[in-house]
C-alpha cells in the first residue's frame, strides 16, 4: 500500500513536472506570436519627422477619405486628396500616409508634380488595428499639411498566421 502510494506520488510529481515543462515550452512559442513589434504613436511621429524635418505641420488642405468602420483590415480603401491649383509655381510635391499601430508607421509615399493635374491618390491599405491614419501633403513652397482619420477595424491585417 505504502509502496503503491510512493509510486503514485512519483508519477504525479513527474506529471506535474512534465506539464510545467510543456507549459514553459509553449510559453516560449506564444510570446513570439504576440511579440509582433508594432508602431507606436511615438514611432509614427519619428517617421513623420523624417519626412517633414523641422517644418511645422499644419492642419487643413488635405482630405483623407477612409471608411470609419471597416470589417477587413487587409484591404481598406483610402483616398487622399489635396486642394491645389497644380501649377508649376504652386503644386503638391508629395503625399505621404502613416499609421499609428501597424508594425511599421509608413504606408505609402506618392511623388507627383504639376503634370498630375490633380493632387489625388487612391489605393488600398492594410490596417493592423483600430487606429488613426494620417496623411501629409508636401507643397512646392515647402509647407506641410495634414489630415487624420480614425478607423475602427474588426478583423485586423498583418498579424494572422500564414497558411504554410
Amino acid at each position: 500500500m505504502t509502496r503503491d502510494d510512493g509510486t503514485l506520488q512519483r508519477t504525479r510529481r513527474r506529471f506535474l513536472l512534465e506539464t510545467a515543462a510543456l507549459a514553459g515550452a509553449t510559453g516560449i512559442v506564444l510570446p513570439l506570436a504576440v511579440e509582433q513589434s508594432s508602431a507606436t504613436p511615438a514611432s509614427m511621429h519619428a517617421a513623420i519627422r523624417n519626412v517633414v524635418g523641422e517644418a511645422p505641420l499644419k492642419k487643413g488642405k488635405v482630405k483623407i477619405d477612409v471608411p470609419a468602420l471597416i470589417e477587413n483590415g487587409n484591404a481598406v480603401p483610402l483616398t487622399v486628396s489635396c486642394e491645389s491649383p497644380m501649377t508649376q509655381d504652386d503644386h503638391v510635391k508629395a503625399i505621404h500616409v502613416f499609421t499609428e499601430k501597424n508594425p511599421q508607421p509608413d504606408v505609402v509615399s506618392a511623388h507627383l508634380g504639376p503634370r498630375a493635374g490633380r493632387a489625388r491618390l487612391s489605393t488600398r491599405v492594410r490596417l493592423a488595428d483600430t487606429q488613426t491614419v494620417l496623411a501629409i501633403a508636401q507643397l512646392s513652397d515647402g509647407s506641410f499639411w495634414s489630415d487624420s482619420a480614425e478607423v475602427v477595424v474588426t478583423l485586423s491585417a498583418c498579424l494572422e498566421e500564414g497558411l504554410i
Partner: protein, 106 residues
C-alpha cells in the same frame, strides 16, 4: 507569372485631366507574418511604382508592407500629347513588371 492591369482612356482632349487606375498582381507579403510553426515568412513586396508619359516621369509611389495585396494605385495626369504612358513596378526578389498604354490626344 507577374501581371498587371492598367486602365487609361484611349483618347482625351488636350489639357484634360485623365484618371489612371493600375493594379498589379502581387501578394505583398509583409514580412511580419509567421507560419503555424512560428517561422517568419520573409518579406516580398513591390517597393516602387513609376508612371512615365512619353518618357517623362509624372507619378511615382514608394510602397511599404502596409499596402494591401494586389496593390491598386489610382491617380490623375494631364493629357498633354499623343503617345505612350508606361508603368513600371519593381520590388523584392527581382520583381519587375512593365505595362504600357497608348493615348490619342486631340
Amino acid at each position: 507569372m507577374p501581371r498587371a492591369i492598367v486602365n487609361v482612356p484611349s483618347q482625351a482632349k488636350r489639357g484634360e485631366i485623365i484618371e489612371i487606375k493600375t493594379l498589379a498582381a502581387h501578394p505583398m507579403e509583409t514580412g511580419f507574418r509567421r507560419t503555424q510553426l512560428g517561422e517568419l515568412i520573409p518579406r516580398d513586396i513591390i517597393r516602387r511604382f513609376v508612371c512615365t508619359y512619353n518618357g517623362a516621369e509624372v507619378f511615382r509611389v514608394d510602397l511599404h508592407p502596409a499596402m494591401a495585396a494586389n496593390p491598386l494605385i489610382a491617380f490623375t495626369t494631364v493629357a498633354t500629347e499623343s503617345g505612350t504612358i508606361a508603368f513600371q513596378w519593381a520590388g523584392d526578389n527581382g520583381y519587375a513588371v512593365t505595362e504600357s498604354a497608348s493615348i490619342r490626344v486631340e
